[in-house]
Amino acid sequence: MKWAKKDLLAISDLSSEELLILLDTTASFKEIISRAIKKVPSLRGKTVVNLFVEPSTRTRCSFELAAQRLSADVISIEKSVSSFTKGETLKDTALNLQALNADFIILRHKSPGAALFLAERLQASVINAGDGPHEHPTQALLDVFTAREKLGDLKGKHFIILGDILFSRVARSNIWALLKLGARVTLVGPTTLLPEVFREVGVDVCHNLDEVLPEADAINLLRIQQERQQATLFPSLGEYTKLFGLNMERFKRCKPDVLIMHPGPINRGVEISSELADCENSVILDQVTNGLAVRMAVMFLLSGGQLPKIKEDARKGTSK
């Protein structure tokens, strides 16, 4: 199958086949970034604009480095030092960037749908680097890629996504990715951050972590987004940690090889105890490394690159 999409906006838009192409291509780039010379000429002469209208560290750096590794010219724009502060609209900013012949716009924005909004108006490829609580597709790709590296085929594997589901773009993208790969998903969190309506997308919903913890093959923790919380959503961080924090006592009841995942940044001592964040089961830093390969793969495919032939074991992930 040939890659046909101009943009990467959401995992929910992708077919299972497209998802597998992205993961397979990522495997190739994972191999490239482990070489002594980590740079390839795939995007030479292309211009990549990191348009980050909402703060980010790891995603912005990861995209920037991925573009550089593909030999693209990279411009990074942040809201605080851009014409957004003068009231320029997103549309006008993007049209100006297009007038500069940008080939890729990587958008991080607080509003759901913002990446689609740009994609419909630009010839440049748009990559959604997080649109409010909607989706964060490259995060989901790096999460499932990492999980496949450790667990192999994800069909039938049980994932817990734990925490602030309501405001989480990571959860929304991961749910779709995991379901498309045949995994079982249980969302866990307080009732105020986890509406029952999520069941309608085909996942389980649970408000008692201890009940489901022993069944999990992977626990994907989400950051408690204190900046989005309102006073009515939960009483205190202390109570949240008591009810939903992953600590050593709870970890002892898990499968011994359970994966601990987190998109970062971590609130140590809140959603996860510090010792668990750094334990052998934690793949948090593997996720960051794989993020680089994922973003290289995405830009490579969107620029017209074709799926490389790779070995079957790399395709399915057998390093466990």
Binding site: G113, L116, F117, G132, R169, E200, V201
Partner: protein
């Protein structure tokens, strides 16, 4: 003398219980029994001739927001939709909370509008929900109702006092039913689609709780309260129960709320962003049932023009509201009359004499001696909405290229043809 006869049409005038094929005579600005001189003759055979339609819920944007719409262009839009009278909401800039602004609106309408424009005034000063506006002076200046449409009075005591106070002036109070805490930050219906799309939800309960409050306050004060643009199934249930108990309360729907669901937002198109938001099919079913059994008597548009550049932004930042005047009749004919929810006679009744009576407009009838405000309808005309053909200044409609059945073909105000489907805008002097 300006004599006109509408010949061969089916005249439906619910104010008189009339539904028969006959000619209608007009002399100067009035409906007359006979004509002594040679009239201009318009053949309306095969068409419906009814009292001029009335929309009790439109935004004409002046003063202050003339880039979106003006009283003049809004009146053109009304005429093109088959309306001869519109009730204009007061959330202008400045808001219509004093007699000077009302006088300005009336003067502007008298000079430039091709249909009758009836202004409303605010319930509270600056629409801030804190202090009563000068309702007596607003009445003297000519308002036909008071409302803080666009905002809902959150202070229950203020709402109670407003209801009590307005009874002195025989003015209806219209309320935009929205609890600000429960809907805080919401941009679409709270449910499956808001969850999937990651957009902040505006739950049904935010409307229903205010409808319930209003029913209780209407019962307490004995004053009539009119609940605007209802969207939620629970609102219909509460309204039905309240009316069964004899409480003086009424409800209104807007055309888009009986056709479109929140699923339309899946493309993040801001032309589907409105307040209250598009709900679910279950809500639509309840609203239609409410219209059918008479729980909801009023049919309106909530015509809310916005500039294209205002809507062409991220959905979170786009203003609420869509156009309504030029698609409203086609929607109600297709989804209420052709769908056999209500009869054509009943639809006309609600959009004429019933609407007139709510606001004391003294319109909505073809009785001899009444103002010759007349709408000619072709209920079977199939057409495709083309926003580029609108006479409104704005283009923010979710119904572009929508197939409808039935529309107005001529609008006559004060005995003058102001718009016809054949010739477009005929006169605006």
């Amino acid at each position: 003398m300006n004599a006109l006869v509408l010949k061969g049409g089916r005249v439906i005038d619910p104010s008189q219980g009339v539904d028969e094929k006959r000619d209608l005579y007009i002399c100067d600005s009035k409906v007359v029994r006979t004509l002594s001189e040679q009239p201009d003759v318009i053949d309306v055979s095969g068409k419906i001739v009814c009292p001029g339609l009335i929309d009790i819920h439109v935004h004409l944007r002046e003063p202050g927001q003339g880039a979106k719409e003006t009283i003049q262009t809004g009146s053109w839009s009304a005429a093109a939709g088959g309306f001869t009278s519109v009730v204009a909401m007061p959330n202008t800039n400045p808001v219509a909370d004093g007699p000077d602004t009302i006088a300005w609106i009336k003067q502007r309408a008298a000079q430039l509008a091709v249909v009758n424009v009836f202004p409303t005034g605010c319930i509270s000063k600056d629409m801030a929900g804190e202090f009563l506006s000068p309702i007596g002076q607003l009445k003297s200046a000519g308002v036909v109702a008071i409302t803080d449409d666009g905002k809902c009075i959150q202070n229950n005591d203020l709402m109670r006092r407003a209801l009590q106070y307005a009874t002195m002036f025989d003015l209806p109070i219209m309320d935009h039913c929205q609890d600000a805490d429960l809907s805080n930050g919401g941009v679409m219906n709270e449910g499956y689609w808001s969850t999937v799309l990651g957009l902040k939800g505006w739950p049904n309960i935010a409307e229903e709780i205010i409808v319930a409050r209003n029913a209780m306050l209407a019962e307490l004060t004995g004053a009539h309260i009119h609940c605007q643009h209802l969207s939620a199934a629970g609102s219909v249930r509460i309204l039905r129960q309240a009316k069964a108990r004899g409480i003086p309360i009424s409800g209104e729907i807007c055309a888009h709320h009986i056709v479109l669901t929140d699923e339309c937002l899946k493309t993040y198109d801001s032309n589907f962003k409105m307040n209250p938001p598009l709900r679910t099919q279950a809500d639509i079913d309840a609203l239609i049932e409410g219209v059918g059994d008479g729980t909801i008597e009023y049919l309106a548009s909530d015509h809310a023009p916005h500039c294209e550049f205002e809507k062409e932004v991220e959905l979170d930042d786009a203003p609420f509201g869509i156009l309504g005047l030029e698609t409203e009749v086609g929607i109600y004919l297709k989804y209420l009359v052709h769908a056999k929810i209500i009869s054509l006679h009943e639809m006309i009744r609600r959009m004429t004499i019933v609407a007139s009576d709510l606001c004391g407009l003294h319109k909505g009838t073809l009785k001899v001696g009444s103002d010759a405000d007349i709408t000619v309808l072709d209920p079977d005309l199939e057409w495709t909405v083309d926003k580029h053909q609108f006479l409104s200044k704005a283009r923010n409609t979710p119904f572009h290229e929508h197939q409808l059945k039935g529309r107005a073909t001529m609008t006559i105000v004060g005995g003058k043809i102001v718009w016809s489907l054949e010739n477009g805008l005929v006169s605006h002097s």
